[in-house]
């Protein structure tokens, strides 16, 4: 049966393409996720520039970074929808794939914002073929100047990522994904399950309070607040359209022609870069930011990290990591319950949505607290500060059953409450900064309320094995 061998080869090839597509979408999700948290770190680091460094304009830079980070959240959800469409579960990993794959624009690093770091972000979000100056700067460079500036951005980005790496563009991955998706000869129509449309994350649920994507009404400008795009998709065409939309908003504006009405992430970063590059600004900023750590961590002895020596700050950082873990668990759990056809599972979806938003607040609040907390035991008021590690202390993967998910939620919730208790009763160097106490008291009470609620939910779930 000569045909069988050919068919088998074709199946193997299709299987390989499918795996490639799933892998590419997973990497895309990881990139969106990791960019988002790195941008958040950089954005929150600017609090120091505003309050201590006397950089009033840093508030504007911070807004630009936060806007990008919020929009990245929408991108992440849209990519998760694409994964759901082709039969994969959402993923909230960050670096499951090796960093030497060609798609990561730069190795993940939590760094305070400087000109070099901004250059890295500009380069990552840039259209590789961009040959004209970007539009948003107050004093846009001329075309000749732009070529020089572009080279300068590259060199600073290169300096930022280190000798072992070459800064890349996120657009490269989008192009690879589009090449696969757009070709019916490569991607079988049956891979796209239209019944997942209603099970995917929606703007209605996730775009709370943020502006939806404008279809045709306005030319956007970097002064505008975020437009969060959460696209649902049931077909190949919709998948392409949805991914093109986020690509256009973010990393690859050339995918939408003519130029998109949205201010792209590149536009926003370039604007910040342009501001920071003014004479004397970046030197002063670098001096202020030198008080903040790169890759802060609660674990001693890890290469390329900054250990948080101060016990009170370290415990606060551990709480920050825990809440970050809880945020990822909540996001995954919310997406799963939203996709479930089991009414018992689905009924908690609203609560999980709110929990997800709540932990976004917690991550932010703790980040701000940590950037005000001492790094070392003997840190003076103007000495080195700690920072949020954004460490993954546990796997973001969810257990198989809904009950097990809630048990995990409860475990993490109780751990948070216990950490709050420890921090609130600690004294001396074990204690967190006094400014954190009102927040910790409130968080402790929220954890108690949540524990009561999660216990009630668990009591209402059938035992494992029944609901599976």
């Amino acid at each position: 049966m000569p045909g069988a061998l050919e068919a088998s080869a074709a199946e193997a090839a299709a299987s390989s393409v499918r795996e490639q597509l799933l892998a590419d979408l997973a990497i895309l999700a990881e990139i969106e996720h990791s960019l988002m948290v790195q941008y958040l770190y950089a954005a929150y680091s600017l609090d120091v520039a505003i309050t201590v460094g006397n950089f009033p304009q840093a508030g504007e830079w911070q807004q630009q970074l936060l806007t990008v980070a919020r929009e990245e959240m929408g991108h992440l959800m849209t990519v998760q929808n694409a994964r759901r469409l082709v039969g994969a579960e959402p993923t909230f990993h960050r670096e499951q794939f090796p960093y030497d794959n060609p798609f990561y624009p730069f190795p993940m690093a939590f760094e305070p914002l400087t000109r070099e770091v901004t250059a890295k972000y500009v380069w990552a979000e840039m259209d590789p073929r961009l040959d004209q100056p970007p539009r948003p700067a107050n004093e846009p460079p001329g075309e000749a100047d732009w070529q020089l500036l572009r080279q300068q951005v590259y060199e600073e980005a290169k300096a930022s990522v280190g000798q072992r790496h070459t800064p890349g563009h996120v657009a490269t991955l989008f192009e690879a994904v589009f090449d696969l998706l757009a070709d019916p000869a490569l991607t079988d129509a049956t891979w796209f399950d239209p019944t997942t449309f209603g099970k995917q994350a929606s703007w209605d649920a996730w775009g709370k309070g943020l502006r939806p994507h404008p279809l045709d009404s306005e030319l956007d400008h970097p002064d505008q607040p975020p437009h969060v795009i959460v696209e649902q998709m049931g077909t190949r065409t919709e998948a392409l359209a949805g991914l093109r939309l986020i690509a256009a908003q973010g990393e690859a504006p050339h995918f939408q022609q003519p130029r998109p009405p949205l201010a792209s992430h590149f536009d926003r970063f370039f604007r910040v870069y342009y501001e920071i590059s003014r004479p004397r600004v970046h030197e002063r900023l670098a001096a202020v930011m030198s008080r903040l750590p790169t890759n802060p961590t609660t674990v001693r002895g890890v290469a390329d990290t900054t250990y948080i020596e101060h016990p009170g700050s370290r415990r606060l950082a551990a709480l920050s990591d825990l809440r970050y873990h809880l945020l990822l668990v909540n996001l995954g759990h919310a997406l799963r319950t939203g996709a479930s056809e089991d009414p018992i599972v689905r009924r908690t979806n609203g609560y999980l949505l709110q929990r997800s938003f709540a932990d976004m607040f917690n991550v932010k609040t703790l980040a701000c607290e940590l950037f005000r907390a001492p790094l070392k035991i003997d840190s003076t008021a103007d000495g080195p500060m700690a920072g949020p590690p954004f460490g993954l202390t546990g796997s973001p993967d969810l257990p198989a059953s809904d009950r097990a998910c809630w048990q995990l939620q409860r475990k993490l919730n109780l751990a948070s409450k216990a950490l709050c208790e420890q921090l609130l009763t600690a004294t001396g160097i074990e204690a967190p900064p006094a400014s954190a106490l009102p927040y910790l008291r409130t968080l402790r009470q929220l954890d108690v309320q949540d524990d009561e609620r999660i216990s009630a939910i668990l009591a209402g779930l059938p035992p494992d094995g029944v609901d599976e």
Binding site: D204, Y351, Q354, F361, K364, E369, T442, A459
Partner: protein, 782 residues
């Protein structure tokens, strides 16, 4: 060697504090004093009710004989046989003096010694009180229907009854509004105090006996008197030979029509403010609204005092009890008054800690409000299979007002009371952690209360109604408070609330001052205001005469009256479109399928230009802040437009096609407060006018306005617990039997407290909530 006697400091002026005191009706003894505090260890708990200094007044002499701090506060007492007495709130008013001092003027309490230092005696003080109930007058438009009571120039210490009389009453007919008393100062309690003790909360009727036997029996049992003499021309002879009293004007098709009679009817908003002959409510029964002709004994008015050529005044009002004493509404009367006093923007020099403390307090009140709302129901979702349009919610109101299909505000199934409350609490936690609140962009702009796009409707505060009948917005000042905190990232968190100091110039502190002996619920901070219409006062009424020479309608931009001595142009029927260039109107927006972000103007047959009138408190904020006492250019429609709302925007002035649509008139902006005090100028509101837009009787406010307006003042969802499914379950506050299962609001469902239940036995059915739960039925001990 004898010392030279020091001359007493010169008294420059007097103040009555607080300048706005809220009394609360009840048939029980005056409520003991308490204050509310936030427990710093458990900041998400309900506020702690802390018993405070309470005075014992000798009924015979009018002197305070002693003071004590009660162990607990009892809000309601069962006196046997299923009868309850709610304890009335009888606020004290204190007399203070602005005294010259070397370091600047000081605000000092007037005491026996201070009087003596100036050669005065307590008998030199003269107190005058005038209160009124104009609810029926507002409805009928007849001045004769005002019920007023005066007590003039008293200097003794006996009780003085406030006996309400009216030209429309039968001979000898009266309505008691309570009493006032100038307390006798003593060596032990030397401060000068005055007290307003409100009435019992009774209902009065007319001299026409109802034909319906059930209603006749009900009235015989529950009416406290029948003082109102029905004008002969109002007794209608229809099939039933019943009396139609005052009514909602309707056309032949049954739609509300202010011109259905010969003359323009100045309708109220809402129209059905009065108790009607069953069945109620009228909008479910062909708009037939036959009034029962009831009066209540609520009132508002002015207390004045004179001493040695100096005068001072304060406003008093008597309204329903504060039924949730340990929670506060997100936008209180104090917020609106603060905006008048301090302006729509936060002073750039205000210390960040003070701003942050105020921002925290706003967010705290937001979650205190949410926790009493059944959010899933108020979101406009089906309940127990009932279509959401059959339930009284803001999205349903919006659908009726805009003639379009109803849609839930948030994505269906995603909102739940405990979840949404927890999210608000998380915002509160973040604020306490000093994180910049990014949610300022989630707040509804006061200019966008008619934005019915998804984005617009989801703004905060959500699901509640404001004074313009659209979605509630905070005051500009509240929004700017949060905005300022958000702009100042990284600042230190506040160490709790910061009490303003009581100085002659600090009118905010004077407004917030709670007199010793008064419960906290007598404060404007415990009252709602910017609502439609309100509970304690209808604050919309205070803006009607803010522009000298014209009288505006309280709820929209229609000019009702002009003073020809001030305004030569007869502006009656014209619409005020802008003041000082600030528009008083905005557009209704509807989501566009073509562009969810932008929306399109929402037009309907009733509102062809898709216009909303903005609520006065925010619309006038900027003008009040900068131009009190000066003239300002006002833009009116060039013609009288009695019925339709008219669109106008600043650019129209330059548009040759629109330029003729408007005329410009210079009018003077009245000063809001008298002198340097925080007393709302008499020119803005006569006694009775601050309550005239409220329901008659006031119990209707708790029934008509259903569940969603002011949840922490008029609760909706109580005894809330988490179910096994993780969702919130609890009782409708107005359901008679507590089952733990929410009974959807329905005007005819006898599982709920209905109109007659409430009017007849309000002290039984209005149950106090403490800690989010029904307080004990006999004693709300804390």
């Amino acid at each position: 060697m004898s010392e030279t006697p020091t001359a007493p400091p010169t008294i420059k002026s007097l103040r009555i504090l607080p300048p706005f005191a809220i009394a609360r009706l009840g048939s029980g003894a005056p409520l003991d004093s308490y204050r509310v505090e936030v427990d710093e260890e458990r900041p998400l708990d309900f506020r702690t009710i802390v018993p405070d200094t309470t005075f014992v007044v000798d009924e015979r002499t009018g002197a305070i004989t002693s003071s004590f701090v009660p162990d607990s506060i009892t809000f309601r007492e069962e006196v046997g046989d299923g009868t309850f007495h709610i304890r009335k709130v009888a606020p004290f008013l204190e007399l203070w003096a602005v005294a010259e001092a070397p370091t600047g003027d000081e605000l000092v309490p007037v005491t026996l010694s201070l009087l003596d230092d100036h050669g005065w005696t307590p008998e030199d003080l003269r107190w005058t009180v005038e209160v009124a109930n104009r609810k029926v007058q507002r409805r009928t438009g007849l001045d004769a229907d005002a019920v007023t009571a005066h007590v003039r120039e008293i200097s003794d210490h006996g009780p003085h009854e406030l006996v309400g009389t009216s030209a429309s009453f039968v001979p000898g007919g009266t309505i008691p509004f309570g009493s006032v008393r100038y307390l006798r100062p003593t060596d032990e309690f030397p401060e000068i105090r005055f007290r307003f003790t409100p009435a019992d909360g009774l209902i009065y009727g007319s001299d026409v006996e109802e034909q319906d036997p059930d209603l006749r029996d009900w009235e015989a049992k529950h009416l406290a008197g029948r003082p109102y003499a029905v004008p002969k021309d109002k007794v209608k002879d229809r099939a039933t030979d019943t009396w139609y009293h005052w009514w909602i004007p309707v056309d032949a098709e049954g739609s509300e029509d202010p011109w259905s009679g010969r003359d323009f009817q100045d309708e109220t908003l809402p129209a059905s403010l009065f108790a009607i002959v069953p069945p109620a409510p009228p909008w479910l029964h062909d708009n037939v609204a036959v009034s029962r002709g009831y009066f209540d004994d609520a009132c508002d008015g002015i207390v004045e005092v004179t001493l040695g050529g100096l005068t001072a005044a304060a406003r008093i009002t008597a309204g329903p009890p504060a039924l949730v004493p340990d929670a506060l509404f997100v936008r209180s009367l104090a917020d609106d008054l603060e905006q008048v006093i301090d302006g729509p923007e936060v002073d750039p020099l205000e210390p960040p800690d003070v701003t942050l403390a105020r921002a925290e307090e706003i967010v705290r009140r937001a979650f205190e409000t949410v926790r009493f709302m059944n959010v899933a129901v108020m979101n406009g979702e089906p309940v127990q299979g009932r279509p959401p349009l059959s339930l009284d919610t803001m999205p349903a109101e919006e659908a009726f007002d805009t003639d379009r299909l109803m849609r839930p505000v948030m994505a269906e199934g995603t909102v739940d009371t405990l979840s949404v409350m927890a999210l608000h609490q998380q915002v509160y936690a973040a604020l306490r952690g000093g994180a910049a609140p990014w949610f300022v962009r989630l707040l509804r702009s006061p200019l966008a209360t008619g934005d019915f796009t998804d984005d617009g409707r989801r703004r905060m505060p959500a699901l509640m109604c404001g004074a313009d009948g659209n979605y509630l917005a905070l005051t500009y000042r509240q929004i700017d408070t949060i905005d300022r905190v958000s702009r100042e990232a990284g600042r230190r968190p506040a160490a709790g609330s910061v009490a303003p100091s009581l100085t002659p110039r600090n009118r905010t502190a004077q407004m917030h001052h709670v007199a010793v002996g008064s419960p906290f619920s007598s404060s404007p901070a415990a009252a709602i205001a910017n609502c439609c219409p309100g509970l304690e006062v209808d604050f919309r009424a205070v803006w009607r005469r803010v522009l000298e020479g014209i009288t505006l309608r309280e709820y929209d931009n229609l000019v009702l009256d002009v003073d020809p001595a001030v305004t030569p142009i007869d502006l009656r029927g014209h619409r005020l479109l802008a003041v000082g260039g600030v528009s008083t109107v905005s557009r209704m927006l509807s989501p566009s399928p073509a562009d969810l972000a932008a929306g399109v103007v929402l037009r309907s047959n009733d509102n062809p230009e898709g216009v909303v009138s903005l609520e006065w408190s925010n619309a006038f904020a900027e003008v009040l802040s900068t131009q009190q006492g000066t003239t300002v250019q006002c833009t009116f429609t060039s013609d009288a437009v009695w019925e339709d709302r008219v669109w106008w925007e600043r650019e129209d002035a330059a548009d040759p096609h629109r330029a003729d649509a408007a005329i410009q008139v210079e009018l003077k902006v009245r000063t809001f407060f008298d002198g340097d005090s925080a007393f709302i100028s008499r020119a803005l509101a006569e006694p009775g006018e601050l309550t005239q837009g409220l329901c008659s009787p006031w119990q209707n406010d708790f029934r008509e306005c259903s569940c969603y307006y002011w949840a922490s003042a008029r609760p909706d969802f109580v005894n809330v617990e988490t179910t096994a499914g993780g969702r919130s379950e609890g009782d409708n506050w107005l359901q008679k039997e507590r089952t733990g299962t929410y009974v959807p609001d329905d005007y005819l469902d006898d599982r709920l407290v209905l109109y007659d239940d409430l009017m007849g036995e309000w002290e039984r059915w209005l149950r106090f909530q403490v800690g989010g739960r029904d307080a004990d039925s006999s004693r709300e001990d804390l």
